[in-house]
């Protein structure tokens, strides 16, 4: 844990807004994705860790050092923002070298990073030597990201902070830069916090996920756990669960909970770790867990499989993936690969049968 980061009961007040008792820890090489809608306090969290807001209470520890009372220039964090925030009046070389030329006092302890410590070495490490004399305005997004990472590394950070660096990019570029960033961070084994409202970022990058709303933590934990077991309907919607349905428990038998959704009854596996929420609850079902059966396929009923009949209400996408909305008393989203959908000759209004495994229905209380 000494190479990591710990945020302990951090509270900040900014006018009417505030962060409420944030608590999380990261070890070296781990990447935490903070997810949340606009105004949830994601950027404020990063800026507080970087030292731009004074907390009311709580501590920030970076590499074992309590930095809560230190100004940003003494915290050793690398900060990468939307569009990468290169200094437009400086060349690439001067952007990268600014921490050496005008930054850090000698008494700030610096991390020993496995990267070159001279300008030429650092530029060639990132493959940007040929851009040294260029102005940031002339660079592609990929080149900007490398310059931004090189610049941050020159400051010998103990922690990387990313504030939605990709949010202004098209999705192809975003995918490419995400891969590049991931492999870069893996080589360095520095902890990193990545703020985004894009759940694709979370699924691709995260070792841990923290979901925020109105300055408070909604859920935090290992990425797989948060993605598979969202703590509530808000988190579920936010991490990209396509069906979040309100229901009511009607009975429990043989390890299965029976839940009424509208007029329909669905059976769900009793959660292993959590108690069955009583009364009204939410059912979270990912679109890819809804199986479409061609009409008339004979199947023996199984207790662990929910079968529903419905009509196709909407069909979206003609490419590799088709999203279907099925009206089976309540709207249910499903997806199919393009060729499968075309082979089934589905049309709006067609009768369809769907199957949902009881184990694919995740129940939450709120």
């Amino acid at each position: 844990m000494i190479a990591g980061v710990a945020v302990e009961a951090l509270s900040v007040t900014l006018g009417a807004f505030g962060l409420k008792k944030l608590d999380f820890a990261l070890s070296g090489g781990e990447l935490l994705v903070i997810l949340g809608p606009n105004g949830a306090g994601k950027s404020v969290t990063l800026e507080t860790i970087a030292g731009f807001h004074r907390p009311d209470s709580g501590r920030v520890l970076i590499r074992g050092r309590d930095v809560t009372a230190l100004p940003p220039e003494r915290r050793n964090v690398g900060f990468v923002v939307q569009n990468f925030g290169l200094f437009p009046h400086l060349t690439v070389a001067r952007n990268v070298a600014i921490a050496w030329r005008h930054g850090r006092d000698a008494d700030v302890p610096l991390a020993a990073l496995p990267v070159p410590h001279d300008l030429d070495g650092l530029l060639s490490y990132f493959g940007i030597s040929h851009l040294a004399a260029r102005a940031p305005a002339d660079l592609s997004p990929g080149e900007k990201q490398r310059v931004a990472l090189a610049r941050a590394l020159a400051g010998a950070p103990d922690l990387f902070l990313f504030d939605e660096p990709f949010s202004a990019l098209d999705s192809a570029t975003r995918d490419q830069l995400r891969d590049e960033l991931k492999s870069f961070l893996r080589r360095l084994s520095l902890p990193a916090i990545f703020v985004t409202h894009d759940h694709d970022d979370a699924m691709t990058l995260a070792d841990k996920i923290l979901v925020m709303r109105d300055g408070a933590m909604m859920q935090s934990g290992p990425a797989a756990e948060v993605l598979q077991q969202p703590a509530g309907s808000f988190v579920a919607r936010f991490i990209g669960v396509d069906n979040v349905l309100a229901g009511r428990v009607t009975g429990v038998a043989d390890g299965l909970v029976t839940v009424a959704v509208g007029e329909r009854m669905l059976r769900a596996t009793v959660p292993a770790i959590r108690a069955v929420p009583a009364g009204s609850l939410f059912l979270n079902i990912r679109a890819e867990d809804v199986t479409i059966r061609p009409p008339g396929t004979p199947l023996s009923p199984q207790p662990g499989i929910n079968r529903l009949e419905g009509r196709l209400a909407a069909l979206r996408g003609a490419g590799p993936l088709v999203t279907l909305t099925i009206d089976c008393g309540f709207p249910l989203k499903a997806c199919l690969l393009g060729p499968q959908a075309r082979a089934m000759k589905l049309d709006v209004g067609s009768a369809v049968e769907v199957e949902i495994a009881a184990g694919s229905i995740h129940l939450t209380a709120e």
Binding site: P72, Q82, F87, R94, A97, A99, G103, A135
Partner: protein, 285 residues
Amino acid sequence: MAVKSMPSGAAAHSWRSRAAPSRPGALYLLCWFLGSVLVAFLVLPLVALALTQSGASLAGVAGMADVRDAIALSLEGAFLSASCAALIGVPLAYGLARTSFPGKGVIAALVDLPLAVPHTVAGIALLMVFGRQGVLGEPLQALVGLKFWGTIAGIVVAMLFVSAPYMVNAARIGFEAVDPRLEKIARTLGLGPWRTFWRITLPLARRSIMTGVTLTYARSISEFGAVVILVYYPMTAPVEIYELFLRFGLDQAAGAAVLLLIVALSLFVILRLLALSGTAPRENR
């Protein structure tokens, strides 16, 4: 370039989508027609004035010591006024751009106030403060011997009062255009608040600050009303021209006027070019 080629309809349409049958050509033609009326209105009086003077008559005016002194005094006063405005106006502009506090709107309005005050009124008001019996004028003379009547100090005070708003407003717009995240990044790279200001914020706002300096200089050198009330002697160029006009008539005044025009405009052009000159990054590691 693109804009200039717009009025010729064919060229304008060649790069526009064929689906747009509207004729922006007519709109641009109208704009350019009305615009040229304004440009002509602005330039014509100055050209007409300049044409009244031959080279010989200008040389004659330039040979008059009091005209030369007056122009030199105007330049000196405008230079000092622009410098003072930059020195105390840039910090205020940065404060207004980067902080928010109750009453900020009031301060911003107070900065603009001189723009709404007739300059003769400004002169009289300044007299109450910096005059012989003024609130500041009297103690400052008694304590440090600084006099605002009959001295360049008074001229600078009058110029500064009417021109400072231009400095503050231009610089404030410049600072507001600097992304605060760039300053934050600089801080995380180890630059303290001062170094961040000198290395990042100030260079990025440089153009706007230079525009502010140019406007302040231009407003200062052209000031007559406030100066003439606070400090009649020594005469700045506008006051000298007014005096020539009263004593010797139009011809004498016009000669000095053209001379002042040439000097003031050339400096204006130089400052403007300086303001617009390269903010592109330079390579020297």
